[in-house]
Amino acid sequence: MQKITIKKGHNINISGLASREFTNAPTQKFVSLSPQDFNYIKPKLLVKEGDHVSLGDALFFDKINPDVKWPSIAAGTISKIIYGERRTVLDIIIEIDENDEKNSDPISERNLSSREDVKNFIQNNNLWPFITQRPFNKVVDPNDSPKCIIVSLADSSPLANDLSFSLEDKKNHIVSALSNLKKLTDGDLYVAVRGDNFSFLSDHDFIKLIQVEGPHPSGNIGVILNRVNPLNQNEVVWTVQGSHLPILGKLFSDGIYDFSSNISIGGPSVKPSYFKSRIGARFDLYKDSLLMDNVRIISGNVLTGKKVNLDGFLGFYHSSFSVIEESFIRPFVGWLHPGGKSKYSVFNAYLGSNKKSYDFTTLQNGSNRAFVPVDAWEKVFPMDIYINALARSIEANDIDEMEQLGIYECDEEDVALCSFVCPSKSDVGAIIRKGLDTIYFDK
């Protein structure tokens, strides 16, 4: 077991962390798969409204890489396909037919002895979208050979779904998923855990267990890779969401599609809890737990998540909803405020500032200003990358310099804290994404 300690970073103590117990909720009737959750794809639909789909049936494929198809995450009928501007597909909503799901036959063809077998299995059952890659944070190209595979079971983001709790009874499937994923690479299979969680994984030699310590973003795969096996130019690393492991595991070992997933709902404006739910779940089933009307519902965490409506759905790679208040308050001379419990800052800029559990709102807490490098980003960015210089090379559109400064190692989520602390209210994640886009479309 390798141990890494991340010193730079910050755990945002936002209130509304779910305690480790489940609350009952009605079963989901609708789920959605949104092509918007996947970077750099050109989706081509294979279904239309009213079609009947079985579990795992292909819903759409990527025109750039037609081998990659997206599985239906439920059995039932396509109830609605929502289009956005220029007919981009926003949501493919499926009405679940529970009987169909129960009566689905297991996949009989399950030869998983070699790498080709595993690849074929993933290909035939439309499972590629579960595997993403760095750089670019996109669905993998099946023809690539990754230098290693990494899975993080140590999510450190605020109000994160605690996988050591929500995956508690799925040990066998986790091991099954990992053992088959290992076949996809000649390199190592890294699994990041926190403390003594998932200690059963240490029994398996094919897993390189990494124990991470320290504040967010210590659980991000980008940060862990930067320490254990840095990503260089022309290299690719594959990764799978920790919460997706049981789904893959159950398919590998039993041949059964089971898209159930334990999700967490947290945040200052909601009664926090865990729910037995499924991938692509709709939020409105949980609206009873809202504590106020004027809220922003976020699929994912408050740093990198996506804003959704009350009847919006959980993103494909997300395993939690976060809810914060939409605030429109304009405090009188707020910049003169002495402090107190209504202020949260990583700077020591407020007297008696409440750093234990703070009710964050959607306020930006300041106007956008020209960037002033007060050493704030660097304090919460633990990689050996000069993030400030990198951001400037991106603004200057200098691809060579971006590559030299290590843009491939970064992703939006790794710099989300930089945006959080920035007194100039810059969006560093958007800058990094802009740089990655520039490089991606240049090639």
């Binding site: 990583v346 106007s367 660097e378 030299q404 959080f420």
Partner: protein, 401 residues
């Protein structure tokens, strides 16, 4: 409060886009967000943000300067009373001082605001609070009896040439406050060249500042002896620390400058690396010069030439005389014009310390070297950063064999 809010909402309608007065939007926005914090919301991730913003950051630097203002005003009154041979008391001394400080402050802010707002309107950018810090710093670098028209011109020069022609806050190369100080130094040398005494006294009142004493000694001696021999002012170490000596308004009291430094470091606004490394650089160079002046080869000083009393100033005296501490704490740490990498900050600060002593001791023209040292290093900061970043690039390339 509602009434005030209403005024802003009503006047805001006149500066909306498309309205004839829309050019005045930056001015309206500045006033509006000074009175009421913005309710701008996040649109996407991160959905939550820290409570620190640029307004508060800049405001904190101004807070750190307030003790220097108070003491500066008192010191003007104190030195005046000393020259007039009267006894006035603490309060009256401070009031007397403020009759000199306030006009300078007002002249600076008027000049600064006019320049900043004009450029905000022309360039259509929002008014950046950074100019408040520049304007708060400039009076502290002035002699108390500086003519106000000079302050006005100096400030305008600093804001426009030091900042706005480079694109405003965030892209400027030179510290605007120091640019204006340097401009005035060379444009109006009779007023602030630094060797005449900087105090308000009766007509014809003159004397030498601490730096001028070893720079122009009547007869060579060590700096400590020269200080001790001066009868006009008490240049003892303790007194120079407490700041009851002539000098720029804000530079003399070292305790209050240190308090400001601790405050800024604690809040995480100013870089402690720059402050520490520039003191190290100064101590290193001063000791080196002390040594050079001590050793002789065949009766000739290693330092060469005639004996130079400036070389005998001890590191502690270097820190206490002139505006070294003030410049280090408030000017060198200006985030935009200093180095942007932590390694770079160490080098940048160290070289400021080195250059300060070199300019003070070896250059015969200017007794004070801090502002020149900082401006020179402002110029080199991007170069330092370039090499620091190149080292990181080489590391990344070497990993990728």
């Amino acid at each position: 409060m509602n009434f005030l809010r209403k005024i802003f909402e009503e006047t805001g309608k006149f500066v909306e886009e498309g309205k004839p007065l829309s050019w005045a939007y930056p001015v309206w926005e500045a006033a509006d967000t000074i009175f009421f914090s913005t309710n701008k919301q996040t649109s996407k991730g991160p959905h939550i943000r820290d409570n620190m913003d640029i307004k508060r950051t800049m405001f904190f630097v101004v807070i750190a300067l307030i003790p220097c203002y108070l003491f500066g005003a008192y010191n003007i009154g104190y030195l005046n009373a000393l020259a007039m041979e009267i006894d006035r008391g603490l309060f009256a001394n401070t009031i007397f001082g403020f009759t000199y400080v306030l006009p300078i402050l007002i002249a600076t802010f008027v000049a600064g605001a006019v320049c900043e707002l004009t450029f905000a309107i022309i360039r259509k950018h929002e008014v950046n609070e950074g100019f408040l810090v520049s304007c708060a710093l400039i009076p502290l670098t002035m002699p108390p009896d500086v003519p106000l028209w000079q302050v006005f011109i100096g400030t305008s020069f600093g804001i426009i040439i030091g900042k706005e022609i480079f694109g405003g806050v965030g892209t400027n190369i030179f510290n605007p406050a120091l640019t204006s100080r340097a401009f005035m130094y060379f444009a109006f040398p009779t007023k602030i060249s630094g060797d005449k005494v900087w105090a308000v006294g009766p007509d014809g009142y003159s004397g030498a500042t601490a730096l001028a004493i070893p720079a122009n000694p009547v007869e060579y001696d060590t700096a400590s002896n020269l200080f001790a021999a001066n009868t006009q002012f008490d240049f003892s170490t303790m007194n120079m620390f407490w700041g009851l000596i002539p000098g720029s308004i804000g530079e003399t009291n070292k305790l209050f400058i240190l308090l400001g430094a601790i405050f800024l470091i604690y809040c995480g606004i100013a870089s402690w690396r720059i402050m520490v490394s520039s003191v190290l650089g100064l101590v290193f160079t001063a000791l080196l010069f002390n040594l050079l002046n001590y050793f002789t080869v065949d009766g000739i000083l290693l330092a060469g030439g005639s004996p130079n009393a400036m070389l005998t100033i001890t590191p502690l005296q270097h820190i206490l005389i002139g505006s070294f501490l003030f410049g280090t704490v408030f000017m060198a740490t200006e985030p935009v014009t200093s180095s942007h990498t932590n390694t770079g900050r160490w080098i940048y600060g160290f070289l400021i310390g080195v250059l300060t002593v070199i300019i003070r001791s070896i250059n015969p023209a200017y007794p004070e070297g801090v502002f020149l040292a900082i401006l020179i290093m402002n110029m080199f900061a991007p170069l330092i950063d370039y090499y620091v970043v190149q080292a990181n690039i080489k590391m990344r390339l070497s990993r990728h064999v």
